[in-house]
């Protein structure tokens, strides 16, 4: 697993649902293009991607390839993060908890299509970009067709 230098304020951390929805329409490669501050993953989310691929979710290969090319980087959990993760409500999964924790410490933006995760970001003062906003932006830039946008959101 790769660690990486400190991401900046324009960097984003992607929730698992963002990966799967763009991978299903074969458009994960647009992510590094539209996020110049860099795209990052929480370790638990990456583990889930690997496990999903092993379990037969073939579209996740594109995500693994993006990591292999260094266009999507995996962050490390520090000791201070563990305490915060342990304090988070049990309504969040480990991937979401790690992602929000890393965004809070590193002042990154969490991109998600999950209501509970987005609501918690609001309460915790973590900047969160809704996946629907990202899809709209990709469509405006001609990086997603209307049909791909519809499929990604359904």
């Amino acid at each position: 697993m790769k660690s990486s230098p400190e991401p900046g304020r324009r960097a984003v951390l992607l929730d698992a649902n963002v990966l799967s929805r763009l991978a299903r329409v074969h458009q994960t490669d647009v992510l590094p293009e539209v996020f110049p501050g860099g795209c990052y993953l929480a370790p638990a989310i990456y583990h889930e991607v690997e496990a999903g691929l092993e379990a037969g979710v073939a579209y996740l290969e594109a995500v693994i390839a993006l990591v292999g090319r260094g266009r999507l980087r995996i962050l490390s959990i520090e000791e201070e993060d563990r305490d915060y993760i342990a304090s988070l409500p049990r309504k969040l999964g480990l991937g979401e908890a790690e992602g929000i924790t890393l965004c809070r410490r590193l002042d990154m933006v969490f991109v998600t299509h999950d209501r509970e995760a987005a609501n918690f970001c609001d309460r915790a003062g973590v900047r969160c970009l809704h996946f629907r906003m990202l899809v709209d932006a990709l469509q405006k830039r001609g990086l997603l067709t209307p049909e791909q946008a519809r499929q990604a959101l359904e």
Binding site: V57, L92, G95, E154
Partner: protein
């Protein structure tokens, strides 16, 4: 090996398993039956879906409770025609905040 001999061998293997691993094995078999389309999702999965739809937990937590990989759980919801609980933007201030974040991070 014929079917009867195969079954006997499986029974023998099961007899040798420690009792504490049996609940986990039952969950796994339940999951395999669901994955191969032989059965509707088990109780654990149904409870996770119910909590997710009720807005009590996130998708990641629901997958954990179901004991299913996140992406397989997403597929299951899709196959069952269950709509994703996406973030809500309820007022203009939230819309403006979303646009501001998008402008900041997007190229």
């Amino acid at each position: 090996m014929n079917a009867t001999a195969f079954r006997q061998e499986i029974h023998q293997m099961l007899d040798e398993l420690p009792a504490e691993v049996l609940p986990e094995l039952v969950d796994f078999i339940e999951f395999l039956r669901f994955r191969t389309g032989r059965e509707t999702p088990g109780r654990r999965v149904q409870e996770a879906i119910r909590s997710y739809i009720a807005g009590e937990i996130s998708l990641g937590r629901a997958a954990e409770l179901a004991g299913v990989n996140y992406f397989l759980f997403e597929e299951l919801l899709r196959k069952q025609g269950i709509s994703v609980m996406e973030p809500e933007v309820t007022d203009k201030a939230e819309q403006a905040a979303q646009r501001e974040i998008a402008d900041e991070v997007l190229a």
